[in-house]
């Protein structure tokens, strides 16, 4: 029982930390990858709470569809959040 509590705590901390990271980060591609991590951990949470159908939908939508749509949006706009700064992270 104590193991479940420890694993739940680790997952909850990771969930909140990655969601905060998606808000704070200035590089928008990193923020998109962060939303992928949020979806992954959230799906494991739904699974642990005995709701596999919700976890199935969350996995299919979050890891494939959201990432594709946001990356295409970034391709058509700017990658950096602050458009006046000309930084060198456009390369990788």
């Amino acid at each position: 029982m104590i193991t479940y509590v420890v694993i739940f705590s680790i997952l909850a901390v990771l969930l909140v930390a990655s969601a905060l990271y998606a808000v704070i980060q200035k590089d928008l591609l990193a923020a998109v990858i962060s939303t992928g991590v949020v979806s992954l951990i959230l799906s494991v949470f739904f699974y642990l709470m005995q709701a596999p159908d919700v976890a199935l939908t969350e996995a299919a939508i979050g890891i494939a569809l959201t990432t594709i749509i946001f990356v295409i949006t970034i391709r058509n706009t700017s990658r950096n959040e602050d458009e006046t700064v000309d930084n060198n992270l456009e390369k990788f």
Binding site: I7, L48, P52
Partner: protein, 85 residues
């Protein structure tokens, strides 16, 4: 033999934690994509093991979806970095 499951599950949770640390640290976006890929594979194995611990056959389908769809996001990000999307 519940102890084996607990030990393996703890190892997988530690793996998720280490992958998340690399995800926060990683200097380039490609490093973050590698961390996401690794975390998705670890989560697939952990979901199968949790399905065994809950003793429900239906629960394996979530891991199947992760194994089928988990690489599409990484490939899209790689094509974007390559500027070939």
């Amino acid at each position: 033999m519940e102890t084996v499951f607990i030990i393996v599950l703890s190892l997988m949770a530690l793996g998720l934690l280490l992958g998340f640390l690399r995800f926060v640290k990683g200097p380039t976006a490609a490093d973050r994509a590698v961390a996401l890929d690794t975390m998705s594979v670890i989560a697939t194995a952990a979901l199968v093991l949790l399905g065994l611990m809950f003793k429900r056959y239906i629960y394996i389908d979530v891991a199947l979806i992760y194994a089928v769809l988990g690489f599409i996001g990484v490939i899209v990000i790689a094509r974007f970095i390559e500027k070939a999307l």
